[in-house]
């Protein structure tokens, strides 16, 4: 079962032109800085925004399993009793309770994507599949890419690269553009902060660079974690050794906006505030890449 947790139209930072970005739920990594914490779990999750709750008890009355209780802190959900059926969100008048993760038939997703046809045509944009990790839903993704291909829609995939070489190539043969994350070169650090080794990610990128697809490399820049000269230097060396250069290295400065999302998920204890890179730091990183002959810029 593949779930979509968001669809973003007029996406102007997710690849060339104006795009529609489809966010697939589920990710094999668990980066400590993740700003889409609702994207990690593959299953449906319940989000609660306290500021929107008017205490009307619609959900309390609706829930057949008595999982919802109105407290001073808003609605408290007993996760043991909750079946994630979503009926509470259906009756919530303000949208304080929402379910993250919806199942869509392929045709329905295509209908949504096709609404953007003219804007995509005018701007040489297209569709971007993001996540989570879209390759986590390999079969579903391949189907969607094939459908988009039939419509001659420009396809882009935003990936962590953490997948098998076979799956990666299957996807690469069905799209025109990749947004490929490189988080940190030191494997120990990578394991520590993302939960997985980067060996597969790096070898996959080498493989991908030998195909036709265009590649942008994206680096989430976190102060004190991966902004050091050594890491940037190693990243640049790796990039320069690739079969072909990426179109651009996009530096995405870390931000703590996701705190609210962790609150909504009821997982605020999982939120670890990292340090935001200041402008001097961002500039230093850009010029380091440039000194290696690599084009880099702030933002997607």
């Amino acid at each position: 079962m593949s779930l979509i947790f968001d669809v973003k139209r007029y996406a102007i930072n997710d690849g060339p032109g104006i795009r529609i970005t489809i966010f697939l739920k589920g990710c094999p990594l668990s980066c400590v800085w993740c700003h889409n914490p609702e994207s990690i779990e593959k299953r449906v999750e319940k989000l609660f925004t306290r500021s929107k709750c008017i205490g009307c008890k619609a959900c309390v009355e609706r829930c057949e399993n008595h999982a919802c209780t109105l407290t001073k802190e808003g609605i408290l959900t007993d996760t043991n009793a909750c079946l994630l059926c979503g009926k509470c969100a259906e009756v919530c008048p303000t949208g304080a309770t929402q379910m993250s993760g919806m199942q869509y038939p392929i045709e329905e997703i295509m209908a949504i994507i096709k609404k953007e046809t003219l804007v995509m045509d005018q701007s040489e944009g297209g569709v971007t599949f993001s996540g989570g990790e879209p390759l986590f839903h390999h079969e579903f993704l391949v189907k969607l890419l094939d459908e988009c291909g039939k419509e001659e829609i420009h396809r882009c995939v935003d990936t962590t690269g953490f997948t098998s070489a076979k799956k990666l190539l299957e996807v690469a043969s069905r799209c025109e553009h990749f947004l490929y994350d490189l988080k940190v070169m030191d494997d120990e650090k990578h394991k520590q902060y993302t939960g997985v080794s980067n060996a597969q990610i790096l070898s996959n990128l080498q493989l991908l660079a030998s195909t036709d697809v265009n590649i942008n490399i994206r680096i989430p820049l976190i102060k004190g974690l991966n902004d050091d000269d050594e890491n940037i230097h190693q990243t640049a060396l790796f990039i320069n050794a690739l079969h072909k250069k990426p179109l651009m290295v996009n530096i995405l400065p870390y931000h703590s906006i996701a705190q609210k999302k962790y609150e909504k998920l009821g997982r605020i204890e999982k939120f670890i505030k990292m340090e935001e890179p200041d402008i001097a730091c961002q500039k230093r990183v850009i010029s380091l890449f440039e000194s290696h002959g690599i084009k880099a810029m702030i933002g997607g």
Partner: protein, 825 residues
Amino acid sequence: MQSIKEIIGKVETNTVAERAACEQGNFYEPINNNAIGPGMNERIQKLRKLSFEAIPSISIERALHQTAFYKENLGKHSTPVLRALTFLDHCEKKSLYMGENELIVGERGPKPKAIPTFPELTCHSVEDLEILNSREQQPYTISQEDIDIYAKEVIPYWKGRTQRERIFSHVPIEWKRAYEAGVFTEFMEQRAPGHTVLDGKIYKKGMLDFKKEIEAHLDSLDFMNDPEATDKAEQLKAMSISCDAVIVFANRHADLAEQKAQSEKNPQRKKELEKIAAVCRRVPAHAPRTFHEAIQMYWFVHLGTITELNGWDSMNPGHFDQHLAPFYEKEIKEGTLSREEAKELLSCVWIKFNNHTAPPKVGITAKESGTYNDFTNINIGGVKIDGSDGVSEVSYLMLNVTEELHLLQPGTSVHIAPKTPNKFLNAACKVIRQGHGYPSVFNPDTYIMEMVGMGKSITDAREGGCSGCIEVGAFGKEAFLLTGYLNVPKIIEITLNNGIDPLTGKVAGIKTGDPREFKSYEELYEAFLKQLHFVVDQKVKVSNYIDRMFAKYAPAPFLSVVIDDCIQKGKDYYDGGPRYNTNYIQCTGLGTVTDSLSTIKKHVFEDKTLSMDKLLTAVANNFEGEEKLRQTIINKTPFFGNDDDYADAIACKVYDDLVKAIDGKPNIKGEYFHLNMLSTTCHIYFGKVMGAMPNGRLAHKSISDGTSPSHGCDIKGPSAVIRSLTKLDHTRSGGTLLNQRFLPSLLKRDEDIIKLGQLIRSYFTLGGHHIQFNIVDTATLRAAQQAPEEYKDLLVRMAGYSDYFNDMNDDLQQEVIDRTENESF
């Protein structure tokens, strides 16, 4: 991983905003990076400062001249000739103003932002003048001495004789009821019908040439066979006199400039004054030969028309860049003009526009007033009469001047046809990014089709464009009169109350049945249509009546000279003289109406989760104690602007029915009414006179503007909005309006600018008429509310016009803040 836009937003506040148009022709060294418009030279900085800081005031001079002249001469001449003679009399006597540093000369009043009154149309009472002098928002100063003179000399004469009194003594009770309930407004009760835009003829002919044409037509009148010949003769005589009036006015400026030149010590200024004198001797009597003369020519014609009467939306130069380009190109080639000089002259006339604040209304309090803006709208770019690309160097200069001067007036719009180069579109988007509100963006393909659909020739349609907010017209050939705004949501409200205005309990419409008895959505919709047709018919009848009053009592001979085919027909601008004569009713609130109908259709009739009684009771009680219901409606109903076919189909049906109700209703000139969709600031007033609506909008809050979605209800981003909007067939209207608010972070990088341009091209390819962007962040707006002094030049674009944030009242300010912020992360 998603991108991180809010960081980009933060970065932006730390850097000095890029001066986009600099690349397109910024010639002067910046004084410092924080100065407004670093490209302005010293002269322009001084003139701008003077204009910017001038406090609007009322000048009673015109009223005194007018009154004295009427006392002496009423009954001695035909009405048109009397009107022309009063105009001549005023041009002969009025105080002139010629400021230091000016290159383009002439003011309507005795100094910048001194506004005359027009007592023959509407006469301010002492109380009106006192309120205008003391109100907090948009005051107009006037001395006690002047109020006393006004009370003694002006008011007693005009009592019972004004156009406004004549109108109100004749309107039927049904009209009065609807008007008082706020179902519509009536433009022509406050000011003369306006919306006048010029084509290129005044750059080819001088007033003496027009006089020759007039003489020829006078000579050819057939008194033997034409029963109207006498009337035509009087009209033509009046036109000829009015030509003399502007020549006299210009010559007086020439005299003054010569006088000043004689005593001027500074040799450079002396030369300038001599040049001004020479230019004023040449134009408007003769056709202009140079860039300088062409601009001064326009300016005298502009002043003439806004002094003769106070038509709505001032006067407009139309495709100003296209008119000036031949002069510019010739002089640049010959070496008699530099780009710097051209830019300076354009800046001078831009400041002149800004000096001309809108005339203050009568019988109106500060609460109902909205702006100093008099809505001149300069069209830049677009296509030429032959269909070719209209962009020239002058177009870029105008963008540059607009950006640097950052003034309330004139409004500018860019016109983006498929053949318009991306370079121009991107340059315009960079000016939009500055967040000054201007320019708004129009689609010539659509508006040309709109005009051709209304019967204009293709060339006349191409010469046309947009004026005021978004209204289309054939420039120089059409009287397209706006007759008033129609409060479509109020018609829903009245329908839901069986013809009664729930705010007053008074009758405002007709009986169409108690909605609690309705068995289907269709039954309710039918009732709405009955009310709509009733209201529109009332409005049309009275508008036609008023229209005729202007033809009869307040003709505009000077305006008639410059609009085809008034001279040929021997008829006044208000009497069917122009080649085309259109009356518009401006509808507003499509979003509010759609969302309200969607609520009823879905929850009451389809899902049956809500009874009509419960909904109407909640609405009547302004949703008090029904927040759960209100939130359910807001969050669980398909609303307009989200590319949702359920809601958009309702919008299309309503729009279609508005077209059916209005389009083709006869006006008094043998032509027709059409609709357009806009509201300027009227949606605020309309909201005030309304209770809550079924879409969850609370009582007295503003309704949606023009064809924009309800405020804050377009949550799927701009590409969804443009899809919703273009499900309507824009070509069947005389203009639609779409406001989109963007936070600066969406336009941080040059790629973002290009994407904004692509969004605009997408909207226009889909058939959109107009779009405008408000690029501003909420924090800035809140800060501006707290410390207005520090944000004096904060210009905000909304509802088809621009304003200074601090000159808007609290409600308008709140509205700007409430609009959806399209930040997509």
